[in-house]
């Protein structure tokens, strides 16, 4: 049985051979793995591997932490959406306030030119043109609050 997961925002797939409430065996990263669930206490789960070694992990809200690593895991086909903001380009890299709009609709811009300045966490971030072109639309005005990942401007 194939399970399609989003692991740290990367799509991966795992081939589950058998799963019950206490045991799971599957193919992962080119080899077979099998684990037994020996304890659940609060968010803590303890798995025992085939060698008898116990691994403690915390599983909360899609974050699996332990053994020195964090894995944010979501089951993609179960309706989980990739939540990571689409970064770069003309999107807001983080939530904040539009501090300055430096260009107007229809204005010609060159690659690297600053279009808007965003202010967040008391720091300024320049949103720069990712190509030469013409401003089709500025989607916010100065003082507007924006969410991380939102498109701020469109070039044509």
């Amino acid at each position: 049985m194939k399970r399609n997961l989003l692991l740290n925002q990367t799509a991966v797939s795992v081939d589950v051979n058998a799963i019950s409430a206490e045991k799971v065996s599957f193919e992962w990263a080119g080899s077979s793995h099998s684990f037994e669930l020996i304890q659940r206490s609060g968010d803590t789960v303890v798995l025992r591997d085939a060698q008898g070694v116990q691994h403690r992990l915390q599983v909360t809200s899609g974050l699996v932490s332990g053994c020195g690593l964090d894995a944010e895991i979501a089951d993609v086909t179960a309706g989980a959406k990739k939540k990571a903001a689409v970064l770069g380009g003309l999107n807001a890299p983080m939530p904040g306030k539009v501090f300055k709009v430096l260009v107007k609709t229809g204005e010609a811009v060159i690659k690297g030119q600053t279009l808007l300045v965003l202010e967040a966490m008391k720091m300024e971030h320049a949103i720069k043109a990712d190509k030469d072109g013409k401003v089709r639309k500025i989607l916010f005005k100065e003082g507007d609050l924006v969410q991380g990942g939102m498109a701020l401007a469109e070039l044509e």
Partner: protein, 494 residues
């Protein structure tokens, strides 16, 4: 005067920190909060709490008139400013003292003197403090400053005179870039500090940030509590601090600590302060600035010396003579602090926001979590992205690193992206383990600090935990579970 009630003019972890020391000393506390902080634990851990309303920081945590009004109405006899906000505001210090209250911090004079990057350098030069080559004068003409930069020799650093925290700071590698960088730094400085004066300094390559904790009482006693190394920084802000500083010779340690004490003595300092130095590979150190307040990273000093720095601040503010001798202050073992921040290190360290679904618990001995949030707290854009400070102590640096790695596993911050995994990568880096710390560590090791690829065998156990933690999957036609695997855990929480 014995302090009986302290108003804390701050929020979050540092407010909680002050409450804890006060509670242990039997002193009552008054908390303040802006409307959007009403659910934070510092509000309900205090003995009283008063709302500062809504609006910008000037209307809330920087609203001196309102804060003093609450202090009077609650009959507080002292105000602790924490760090940030009004902690280095000389005017506030004066206003507090004029209102007949105790300001738990230095004198307004000391704050004013050290708050000016140019003035402070002129002031401390007379105590034989090593200074970095630079121009700290009042001539702010672009062409003149450019000439000074050339005289000092590139690379140079432009810094806001009134600044801190990396605001208004620029590194300039060549004369051709100087004027543009100057304008940009001045604009940022003007905005942040209402003062666009800058200074220019020699830029030390592979520099280390070493600072010394000082503590002075009002009876002429000035002590140091050893150094802290805070070189691991991103965006000019510290992310990992430790004490003792690795690779520091006993003579250098003695010299740098003594220099800090000389400064405290010279300016007749009061309370807790930190003298920051920049140190090159040759172990030569230069005065950077003095922070006239409690530092974020003060817990590592507490771990190795056994002192409660907030407690000492309160004793000093009460006018007590500290019953201490320098020789009795010892540096025992090794302590490391990691700042857990709501940010995405794999995406330019940009801040993240969200609701904290679950904060984990550190279980090992001598591990401390200083945190101003609880499960369910909302982290927004209005305040600093630091979620908590995790501090680990062990007899040796190697053991402290091991212990911190265990603690980072345990202290999850589920619900929003944090830098926890990145902190583990830093601690496991061979150069960090070897103590090769400098302030460019993070940019210089970009590649070797990248996350493990998703399809790595190390994640097999995480995948297994995810699969097993789910309810027995009710397979739909395409073989995929349709139930939310996390709900099944809620019944197990006690």
């Amino acid at each position: 005067m014995k302090i009986k009630k302290i108003l804390i003019a701050n929020r979050g972890e540092i407010a909680v920190r002050v409450i804890k020391s006060a509670r242990a000393m039997g002193i009552k506390t008054v908390a303040l909060y802006a409307d959007d902080d009403a659910k934070l634990p510092h509000v309900w851990m205090a003995d009283e709490a008063h709302c500062l309303g809504t609006g910008t920081l000037k209307e809330t945590y920087l609203n001196q008139a309102k804060i003093l009004e609450v202090a009077k109405s609650t009959k507080a006899d002292a105000i602790h400013p924490g760090y940030g906000f009004l902690s280095e505001n000389a005017g506030f210090c004066e206003a507090v003292e004029k209102a007949g209250l105790i300001f738990i911090g230095p004198t307004a004079e000391a704050i004013r003197l050290m708050g000016d990057k140019i003035g402070s350098k002129i002031a401390v030069e007379k105590y034989n403090v090593p200074m970095i080559p630079g121009y700290h004068g009042s001539n702010q003409d672009g062409a003149f400053l450019s000439g000074e930069a050339k005289r000092i020799g590139f690379p140079v650093l432009i810094k806001a005179s009134a600044g801190g925290g990396g605001k208004g700071m620029r590194i300039v590698h060549a004369e051709s870039e100087f004027l543009e960088a100057l304008a940009s730094a001045k604009s940022e400085a003007a905005k942040a500090f209402s003062n666009d004066a800058v200074l220019i300094e020699k830029y030390v390559t592979e520099p280390r940030h070493i600072e010394v904790q000082v503590m002075s009482d009002t009876h002429g006693q000035h002590f140091h509590l050893f150094e802290r190394e805070c070189s691991i920084q991103r965006r000019y802000q510290k992310v990992i601090e430790e004490t003792p500083a690795p690779r520091l010779s006993a003579e250098t340690q003695k010299a740098i600590c003594q220099t800090a004490v000389e400064i405290a003595k010279g300016i007749n300092y009061r309370g807790a302060g930190t003298v920051e130095f920049i140190m090159g590979a040759d172990q030569k150190f230069y005065f950077l600035e003095m922070n006239t307040r409690l530092q974020v990273e003060h817990p590592i000093t507490e771990m190795v010396t056994g002192f409660d720095l907030v407690g000492l601040q309160i004793q000093v503010a009460s006018g007590e003579k500290l019953n201490l001798k320098q020789v009795d202050i010892r540096q025992n073992g090794h302590a490391i602090e990691c700042r857990i921040c709501a940010e995405d290190p794999d995406n330019g360290f940009l801040p993240t926001v969200g609701t904290i679904k679950k904060i984990g618990t550190a279980t090992l001995k001598d591990v401390r979590l200083d945190c101003g949030y609880v499960d369910g707290s909302v982290v927004g854009v209005n305040y600093d992205p630091m979620l908590a400070k995790l501090i680990a102590w062990a007899p040796t640096r190697e053991e402290a690193i091991n212990k911190m790695l265990v603690a980072l596993d345990e202290v999850v911050f589920a619900g929003l992206k944090s830098n926890r995994d990145y902190l583990r990568r830093l601690l496991r880096h061979s150069d960090f383990k070897a103590g090769k710390t400098h302030t460019h560590f993070i940019p210089d090791h970009g590649e070797s600090l990248k996350p493990l690829p998703a399809e790595s065998k190390e994640f097999a156990v995480h995948v297994a935990a995810y699969l097993l933690a789910g309810t027995k999957p009710a397979a739909s036609s395409d073989g995929v579970a349709t139930t939310n695997p996390w709900t099944s855990l809620s019944g197990l929480r006690n």
